[in-house]
């Protein structure tokens, strides 16, 4: 910025004198251009730690703390916790394990933020302001004075993408990635419940099927960088030593990077508001029935319930995938979500206690016993009349919600709620059934219910009208119960009416009319020009 402003001045000054030969003028222009090129280099990045400190106090202190120890007033509601700039252990770097990050590494984080964490990008701060903050943040740790970090040299991506997945899967086994990340990468490995960072806070093994939440960004190159630099301060090790010792090869690591990149979608799932429930002759059976495979899948993000105390700021479940199908008489919905623990599981007790200690500081009672996983699917009690619906968090006294409540050990019941924590079981006799399966870090629950319900007080599903639906998920092994859990906004389920041939009439008419008009226009034109 500064450089650009200064460099504009000499250019203007050569344009002014109009006398003199053109050759002199060209020399002048040449000098000006040279100056313009040199000046930014000479003036640029003057980093001003004092001005950086003022910006830090305004925007960073609340999370990273007055002294930069990552313990600001907002920190205790975050997991992972904000970076401790004094301890200066940085996860996302391009430098070797144990080294400090480069200036570029830190600037990138300030610019883009860290996906999957509470750290946002800072487009409201200019480049120079970010450099000043950088200078201040570095001044918080004596390590930056002693060391000049350098980018770790890595080989270039040989490409090959999906072709490398098979070999990558083998490397996944050799390097024991499954020990933390689990067989299918959903963060459910057998060490997962024991993981903690260098400050003793619990760390979730990354769910490799949700790459849009990777702290260091998605794509094979970013993943390969993490393999070699490690994620310092967390249990994720660097493979640089293994590479140098010949335990793994360059080829292995690139195969693995492409395999991991292929475990999730290439971009974050897009949000659609309506679950399109197709009509089929026959409904699929259990959660793993192949008949589910060709039905469209809809993703809905979930976030912590922070509306009503006690709150959950960093929940386990961050989204559900929903498929729906009906046969004119019965509705089947399959809800799928990742949860590394099949709760209640005593193997996760230590984890549950650590999460409670790290997050549940609001004084509300913390259950000590292992808890089940739960899922609540909310609908209005009756089809909405007009726009009004029940409150999206379990309704209220005026408008209750109709619930499908699933319990990881007891199956599903129908319920009714008039607000958070007011759930009561009601057996409407509607015949709700559920079958569930937990496999390698993923729940799949299939609910089935007849479309119509004899009980007038309970929702009937009908074709055509979109019906509001919302989700509430609890991970027992993270101590989630009651109001602590993950919630979604209202979305819809829309039951497709059977496709009639009538839908082809309008397009055909449009085709014929447009074609006819075109022919007519051409005829007229030809007649008038030739005649």
């Amino acid at each position: 910025m500064v450089g650009r402003l200064v460099s504009a001045a000499p250019l203007r000054s050569v344009a002014l004198p109009s006398v003199g030969s053109s050759r002199v003028r060209w020399v002048g222009v040449g000098i000006a251009v040279l100056l313009a090129l040199l000046l930014p280099v000479r003036l640029a990045p003057a980093q001003d730690a004092a001005s950086g400190e003022a910006i830090y106090r305004a925007w960073c202190l609340e999370c990273h703390g007055a002294e930069g120890r990552g313990d600001g007033p907002a920190a205790e509601r975050m997991l992972p916790r904000p970076r401790d700039f004094v301890g200066a252990r940085y996860q996302i770097r391009t430098t070797a394990s144990g080294e400090l990050p480069t200036d570029d590494d830190l600037m990138r984080v300030m610019r883009d933020g860290l996906p999957g964490t509470a750290m946002p990008g800072w487009p409201n701060l200019g480049d120079q302001e970010k450099r000043d903050v950088l200078a201040f943040v570095k001044s918080l740790s004596p390590f930056f004075e002693r060391e000049t970090p350098e980018v770790l040299q890595r080989s270039a991506d040989p490409g090959g993408g999906a072709d490398r997945a098979g070999a990558g899967r083998e490397a996944y086994g050799t390097l024991e990635c499954a020990r933390c990340h689990g067989e299918h990468g959903r963060g459910d490995g057998r060490s997962a419940p024991t993981l903690e960072d260098w400050r003793g806070f619990p760390v979730r093994a990354a769910d490799l099927s949700e790459p849009w939440l990777f702290n260091g960004g998605m794509g094979a190159d970013a993943i390969h960088t993490r393999f070699l630099t490690g994620m310092d301060g967390t249990p994720m090790p660097s493979n640089q030593d293994a590479l140098e010792a010949g335990v793994v090869t360059e080829e292995d690591l690139w195969n693995l990077a492409h395999y991991v990149a292929g475990l999730g979608p290439a971009k974050a799932p897009e949000l659609e508001e309506v679950v399109r429930v197709e009509r089929r002759e026959q409904l699929p059976g259990g959660p793993a029935d192949a008949a589910w495979d060709d039905l469209p899948s809809f993703y809905f993000p979930l976030v912590g319930q922070i509306v009503q105390a006690p709150r959950q700021f960093a929940p386990t479940v961050d989204g559900v995938w929903v498929k729906g199908v009906h046969d004119g008489a019965e509705l089947a919905l399959r809800i799928e979500w990742n949860d590394p623990s099949n709760s209640p599981d005593p193997g996760w007790q230590e984890w549950q206690d650590k999460i409670a200690a790290a997050l549940y500081s609001d004084g509300a009672p913390i259950p000590a016993e292992p808890l089940p996983d739960l899922l609540g699917v909310q609908f209005p009690m009756t089809p909405p009349d007009g726009r009004a619906r029940p409150y999206f968090l379990m309704g209220d006294r005026r408008k209750p919600v109709y619930l499908w409540l699933w319990h990881s050990r007891r199956g599903a019941v129908e319920g009714r709620a008039t607000g958070l924590g007011t759930t009561e079981v009601v057996d409407s006799g509607a015949g709700l059934t559920a079958s569930a399966e937990w496999e390698a870090g993923r729940w799949r629950v299939v609910f089935r219910r007849p479309l119509a319900d004899d009980d007038d007080g309970v929702l009937s599903f009908s074709e055509g009208d979109p019906i509001p639906i919302a989700f509430f998920a609890w991970d027992g092994s993270s101590g989630e119960t009651g109001t602590r859990g993950s919630i979604s906004a209202w979305y819809f389920v829309g039951l497709q009416p059977p496709t009639s041939n009538a839908v082809f009439v309008a397009p055909l008419v449009a085709f014929l009319v447009t074609g006819g008009l075109g022919m007519f226009a051409v005829r007229r034109a030809q007649k008038s020009y030739r005649g």
């Binding site: 912590g304 509306v307 029940p390 497709q496 309008a506 397009p507 447009t514 051409v522």
Partner: protein, 268 residues
């Protein structure tokens, strides 16, 4: 004269160029290129895009038809396609392709699909004259932020900052722009305080009301069933709410509406 040059000067190709260019500008320039270079913007809705494009078409027709020579030159390529015998192949292709395209677009429209109903809501519904705060009645009419008159402004601001980051930041964001880590899962999205359509349109008493009673305190036209805004009277004190109100105005660089100028228009 080069071939490309003659195309550039020809009114038909000029018009076509402007048409395609303005479509690209409206469709991608406003929605995607501007945000990419750091200018605040959002994609243009398709109905608005259609209006823009109709305006462009009308303007183009006006332009080409105001001059007789330009008009006949403009029509020339159209005439060639419709009449010339050496353009027969192109003519047949167009006569089939265009109606097919229209039929296909029609199919996309009539195909049975259950869409989400329109979610109409009043963004700033009229506030009540008074509210009850944990059972205590507070009159909103004429109410000002008492912290602006009493005590240390800096201290109030510090309290407000702490309240904000502990409670509001997950949704309204570090930058107060409504883009906190939980915002993506909520509908309606959390308010962006840096947008001059939000708190700078409102009195501090209005903001106090929205914070204190949250989503459940909204009237029906505000779609209370969707709002994830907690009723902060359950979790914060009166002073904490006034402090965080002070903070969001101060930090976002907004100024509240005052009662003198808003006595009539309050609440829209």
């Amino acid at each position: 004269m080069s071939r490309a040059g003659s195309y550039l000067r020809h009114p038909f190709w000029q018009a076509l160029g402007v048409l395609v260019g303005s479509y690209l500008l409206f469709k991608f320039g406003i929605g995607y290129v501007l945000p990419a270079i750091g200018v605040h913007s959002a994609p243009v809705p398709s109905s608005v895009l259609l209006q823009y494009m109709l305006t462009v078409v009308v303007a183009l027709l006006l332009y080409v038809s105001t001059n007789e020579g330009r008009w006949s030159k403009f029509k020339e390529p159209l005439r060639q396609v419709m009449v010339d015998s050496d353009k027969r192949a192109l003519r047949v292709v167009l006569l089939v392709a265009l109606p097919l395209l229209v039929g296909f677009l029609t199919y996309g429209r009539v195909r049975a699909d259950v869409g989400a109903p329109a979610s109409l809501r009043s963004i700033h519904p009229a506030p009540p004259n008074q509210i009850t705060f944990r059972g205590e009645t507070i009159s909103l009419t004429g109410l000002e932020n008492p912290l602006r008159e009493h005590g240390s402004f800096e201290e109030h601001l510090a309290v407000g900052a702490t309240v904000y980051v502990q409670n509001c930041m997950p949704c309204h964001g570090d930058r107060l722009d409504g883009e906190g880590p939980a915002a993506h899962a909520l509908n309606p999205v959390p308010a962006n305080f840096t947008d001059n359509g939000t708190i700078s349109q409102l009195t501090e008493s209005y903001v106090f009301w929205r914070i204190a009673t949250g989503g459940r305190g909204l009237p029906v036209e505000g779609a209370p069933w969707n709002s994830a805004m907690p009723a902060w009277e359950d979790l914060l004190t009166v002073d904490e709410i006034w402090a965080v109100t002070l903070f969001i105005y101060e930090r976002s660089g907004s100024t509240p509406r005052t009662w003198e100028e808003s006595s009539e228009g309050e609440g829209h």
